[in-house]
């Protein structure tokens, strides 16, 4: 019953989306279910926690802020990231539903490497699809990680992220500009700034 349509040529069909997403996560459902990982691998990265609105604004030199949101239909155990600093986000920041996560990190290139659902189940992510950059002295927004069913995607939701910052981190926004630093290229934040909007 969709009213109008966008040409199916533009947007991938549901079939292809599943195919592509499966490639993106590099294995099929059954392999995921029987995959086991050693706890040792987890111990190498440091847990970081999302900065709260009430936390003081203190950014080290050559560090930047990473902003992302996670929208999941289930509780997640851990989100692992490698790069300029290897770290992971823990269960407290990854409960089901939609949550924004703000952390400060050394500037540099990063990649989301895997997601741990629970003690036995981890999803390894394919190289090249989950890269992002944290710029020094800035809030780098990389997108919303959406986990719905078996589909995983990092989607650009800049306008919603901007609203979140304006409502929850006004002090931070006064001091640091926000830029899109996820997959692809986008300059909505700059447009808003130039129009006299948020910094």
């Amino acid at each position: 019953m969709a009213h109008g349509k966008l040409s199916s040529a533009i947007f991938y069909t549901k079939h292809l989306k599943i195919t592509f997403t499966m490639e993106g996560i590099s294995m099929n459902r059954w392999k995921i279910l029987i995959l086991l990982w050693a706890a040792l691998l987890i111990a190498c990265s440091q847990q970081v926690k999302s900065i709260k609105a009430t936390d003081p604004v203190q950014l080290a030199t050559n560090n930047g802020y990473l902003l992302l949101s996670v929208d999941s239909v289930i509780n997640l155990e851990q989100l692992n990231v490698s790069g300029a600093k290897s770290f992971h986000l823990g269960a407290d920041d990854l409960t089901k539903g939609k949550h924004y996560i703000l952390v400060d990190l050394p500037a540099g290139d990063y990649q989301i490497t895997s997601i741990k659902f629970n003690h036995w189940l981890r999803l390894q992510l394919q190289d090249g699809l989950w890269n992002f950059n944290v710029r020094p002295g800035q809030i780098s927004y990389i997108g919303e990680l959406q986990l719905k069913g078996w589909a995983l995607e990092l989607e650009n939701r800049s306008s919603m992220a901007l609203q979140y910052l304006e409502q929850n981190h006004t002090e931070l926004l006064k001091q640091f500009s926000v830029r899109y630093s996820g997959p692809g290229d986008d300059h909505y934040f700059e447009f808003v700034e130039a129009s006299g909007g948020a910094k």
Binding site: Y12, D185, Y188, F191, V192, S195
Partner: protein
């Protein structure tokens, strides 16, 4: 006498035929009558012509039905849930149908057997035990089918078998019947069988190359031959029929601008003779009879046109054009000389007729029968030359009750923009707007389907430029020829983008914009996510939008927000994975920051459009309100319309799925609607007042609202009044007061659960003489008459009410053994297995239940909170080991005891329990009346009323 009779018959038939034109009312057509599923579709004759079958959707049943010409009635032979639909069906032979039905998530294959039992028809449906699909049917008798059955474990993988109907029903696929040497067996391949040539055809979509590869072979052969291959991005290719010389008749635009009919040489894989091409329009379909081309069809100016090539077909066309001079028609089925026709137009949503040469068409039924009482608005065909002399067709609908001057206009670009077109068929949105005094203009701008490849390609990269220029040219023509006032631009998907761009380019003409599920930031289409930036996806976008360049920003409404003068209604689905919700939210954000007036409606858990009719009603009601405010074809909505919209919005706020849950907001809207006399809103307010939910508990106010609504013939109000006076929960029970309300509820709505409460009063002798026979008969009859499909919400409501009443009667009623047996039999009718009538209960868990953690904690007293549930998990064991029965019924009672010793039964219920199954029996301090100081008690009985288990819950 005979001549007069014939004259009357002909006149009567013509009246039948032209029923749509003799409408009586010009009032605004309610959304509920326009936006609804059609009542009839998929008509077929059985192979021997004995039966006429159709997919039907009527209030008293949905499914496949047989049509009786003599009585003009439908008899349902297979019933499906209201939330499902018939995907397709067909006759296998004179007594068997294959049916596939379900919904977005479920597909069920079924075989229906028709038996004639001395003139009385009996029907048996068997769901097929295996997943798969019917590939085809072999010629001859007994009926042999080809079925592709899913044998995969983790993903779809099929094997093909030749089976009889009986084997298919039993799920038996003998090894020897397997068709070997299939080309591919995965999800990307589809098998088709050509009965005429006994050939198997394998169609495969290669995900990497995007190529569609089709092969064929003789059914019993092993060697596959290529039939054809093509990339749908480059051209279209649609096979129609094998021809006598072994070539294939295909519709394609590979060698021509238009989709035309060619002979395709399978051996050389070359397109050969051009069989038919229309100079202006793409062909949609081609039919052959005995190897000869008999007809082609296409859409000309949005209207279905057919060319016939045989004398018989041309004669048919001539005859039908006399009966249906204005309408479009399609031959749906034929058997001997009998034909089934579908007749439709912009003002006719669809009517089915029998037709036999020499006799007037006989109306069977209408797809939307409620609309026959309205005068719908026809389309006017317009044509104009675009700035590069491209011919652009439009459809203009003028309101039948149009203003004398300055008719307000709604310019409605379609979606796409490539590969979609507006047609001259019934459109509920167009009729909704036209019946409210708006003219509607729809333009098949460059890029639209149906006009050939080059017309389609001219739409590529023309977003915000050539496309909108075509629309502006069409609007200019309309303004020259008709007295048009102000306008609004309105569209969905690409139409939303186009509406914004039109309003930005002509601020003095467009007084408002309505944009839904649209795109507004063109560069974002290339950068929407980590998957959408991949080269293959970007190429897809480029094929429509053109390359990613800085210039795309200058044609993106997000970055032009400060230029928009018109107020905007912005609609979006928050799970839209076609356009992407960020597109809509970004547009909203940009407009707000630019200080522009924008009203948003973002639907939660909604994709690229709605899949529920109530949401369509809500959305179009919102649009109606918005247009009334900004375009003002009429001064304002009527009180009734306004109240209805408030009520719809309140329902969504209360439900909390599609809009954020907001009970206070819902109550406020119900109150506003109640002031305007809306009966259903009064009932909702009464519920809130009874339960103390959203409003302080107030029994007198609740009764007052219910009495007002009852005076307006609300069956719901009468039922609730009956409950208030009979349940003893709100005040001491007064059966003498309750009984008349239940009776009136049943009169107003015969399918109401009120029938069970009328029966209850009769069984228990509540303010009337005891009458067990009448009581039991009433319960049985109500279930028999009004149970539809087990999955329908109405049926669940009836069954739940029946169980509760039966539980109470078994516990309180003291029936004799015959009546007890009859009550048990009613319960038993819902279970296949016989009932074991007693059990031993073991308590496994008890106490307060934490929903988040899924844990019980048993305390001596529990906190008085509405947050947590409380109750027990029990297990029922077989008390009588002599029977092999695995099921029983348990009667559950929740009651509370007040400090003064008074005992109040909260409710009784009958629960089917599989022995050894864990049963979770919970309650909650949910409503205001539950906050009274009391000890709660859970009791479990067997069908004889013997207490098997009880537990007390004491609250602080």
């Amino acid at each position: 006498m005979k001549a007069l009779g014939k004259f009357i018959l002909i006149t009567a038939s013509l009246l039948f035929v032209t029923a749509n034109h003799a409408a009586t009312t010009l009032a605004p057509i309610p959304a509920t009558e326009l936006f609804q599923e059609g009542a009839l579709s998929q008509f077929q004759f059985s192979p021997n012509g004995e039966y006429t079958s159709a997919a039907v959707n009527y209030p008293d049943g949905k499914g496949i039905a047989f049509y009786d010409k003599k009585t003009n009635e439908f008899q349902l032979i297979v019933r499906i849930a209201q939330t499902d639909w018939i995907k397709h069906y067909h006759w296998l032979d004179a007594t068997h149908l294959f049916l596939q039905f379900g919904n977005d998530n479920v597909v069920i294959n079924t075989i229906v057997t028709v038996q004639d039992d001395n003139g009385k028809l009996r029907f048996e449906s068997k769901n097929l035990p295996k997943n798969g699909y019917l590939v085809g049917q072999l010629k001859g008798s007994p009926t042999q089918l080809l079925f592709a059955t899913d044998v995969g474990r983790s993903h779809f993988e099929y094997q093909l078998y030749r089976v009889s109907i009986e084997q298919l029903i039993a799920g038996e696929f003998p090894k020897d019947n397997r068709i070997k040497d299939l080309l591919n067996t995965d999800n990307a391949t589809r098998l088709v069988y050509s009965q005429e040539s006994n050939q198997l055809i394998s169609i495969r979509m290669d995900a990497e190359t995007q190529q569609i590869n089709v092969h064929y072979r003789h059914l019993d052969g092993a060697e596959w031959q290529p039939l054809f291959s093509f990339n749908p991005v480059e051209f279209d290719f649609s096979p129609q029929q094998f021809l006598a010389d072994g070539s294939l008749a295909v519709l394609t635009n590979k060698k021509s601008d238009k989709m035309a009919l060619y002979r395709f040489n399978v051996k050389t894989q070359e397109l050969g003779e051009l069989l038919y091409e229309h100079p202006r329009y793409d062909l949609m379909d081609a039919d052959f009879v005995e190897g000869q081309l008999s007809s082609v069809s296409y859409l000309a100016h949005g209207r279905l046109e057919q060319q016939f090539f045989t004398a018989k077909q041309q004669q048919l066309q001539q005859q039908l054009s006399q009966y249906f001079p204005e309408e479009q028609w399609q031959l749906i089925a034929s058997h001997a000389e009998q034909k089934l026709l579908l007749v439709f137009s912009a003002t006719n949503p669809g009517q089915y007729f029998f037709y036999q040469s020499g006799q007037p068409p006989q109306l069977i039924g209408s797809t939307l029968p409620e609309l026959t009482k309205y005068q719908l608005a026809p389309s006017i065909k317009l044509q104009v030359k675009g700035r590069d002399h491209l011919e652009i067709e439009s459809l203009l609908t003028l309101p039948v009750n149009r203003a004398k001057t300055a008719t307000p206009l709604i310019v409605m670009p379609h979606g796409g923009p490539i590969g979609v077109q507006d047609t001259d068929a019934f459109d509920p949105t167009v009729q909704f707007l036209a019946s409210r005094g708006y003219a509607v203009l729809r333009t098949n701008f460059r890029g639209s389907a149906g006009y050939g490849k080059s017309f389609s390609e001219k739409g590529v990269a023309a977003l915000g430029e050539g496309i909108e220029q075509d629309i502006r040219t069409a609007v200019t023509q309309v303004r020259k020829q008709y007295d048009i006032g102000r306008a609004c631009a309105m569209g969905y998907s690409y139409g939303g983008y186009s509406a914004m761009m039109l309003a930005i380019s002509e601020p003095e003409f467009y007084g408002c914009v309505i944009a839904g599920f649209g795109i507004y930031d063109l560069p974002l289409l290339f950068n929407a996510s980590n998957l959408k930036i991949q080269p293959e996806q970007r190429i897809r976008v480029e094929r429509v939008i053109g390359p990613l360049t800085p210039a795309l920003k200058t044609r993106s409404p997000v970055y032009l927000a400060n230029k928009l003068q018109a107020p905007v209604l912005l609609i979006g689905g928050m799970e839209d994975d076609v356009a992407g919700f960020e597109q809509t939210h970004r547009m909203f954000d940009a407009l707000k920051r630019a200080g522009k007036p924008v009203q948003e409606m973002f639907y939660q858990e909604t994709g690229h459009g709605h899949n529920r009719w109530d949401l369509e009603h809500h959305q179009i009601g919102l649009i109606d309100q918005f247009l009334t405010q900004h375009l003002a074809a009429r001064k304002k909505l009527t009180n009734a319309e306004q109240a209805e919209q408030w009520y719809r919005h309140a329902q969504l706020l209360e439900e909390g799925d599609k809009l954020g849950k907001d009970l206070a907001g819902a109550i406020k809207l119900y109150q506003q609607a109640a002031v305007f006399g809306h009966a259903a809103s009064k009932v909702e307010l009464a519920k809130a007042l009874l339960n103390g939910e959203g409003l302080p508990q107030d029994l007198n106010k609740a009764i007052a609202y219910l009495q007002q609504a009852a005076a307006q013939d609300s069956a719901g109000a009468e039922l609730l009044l009956g409950s208030v006076y009979s349940s003893g929960l709100y005040q001491p029970a007064e059966p003498a007061k309750a009984n008349p309300h239940f009776s009136r509820a049943a009169t107003l709505e015969p399918s109401s659960t009120a029938a069970f409460y009328i029966a209850r009063a009769s069984c228990l002798g509540l303010a009337q003489a005891v009458n067990w026979q009448g009581c039991l008969q009433r319960i049985e009859q109500q279930l028999k008459d009004y149970q539809q499909h087990y999955a329908d919400s109405k049926t669940k409501q009836l069954k739940n009410a029946a169980r509760r009443v039966i539980a109470e009667l078994l516990l309180n009623g003291q029936p004799n053994s015959a009546d007890r047996g009859r009550l048990i039999a009613i319960l038993q009718s819902t279970l296949k297995a016989p009932i074991d009538t007693s059990a031993e209960i073991t308590e496994l868990r008890v106490g307060q239940y934490d929903l988040d953690r899924g844990k019980y904690s048993e305390e001596s007293t529990y906190p008085r909170t509405s947050k947590n549930e409380f109750g027990s998990i029990i297990k029922a064991l077989r008390a009588d080991n002599s029977t092999g029965n695995k099921q029983t019924w348990l009667l559950v009672r929740w009651q509370r005891q007040f400090p003064d010793g008074r005992i109040q039964v909260i409710f009784d219920d009958a629960i089917p329990a599989a022995l050894s199954e864990h049963l979770q029996l919970h309650s909650k301090l949910e409503y205001a009346m539950d906050q009274q100081a009391a000890t709660w008690q859970l009791q479990v009985f067997d069908l004889h009323g013997q207490n098997l288990y009880q537990h007390q819950f004491v609250f602080q």
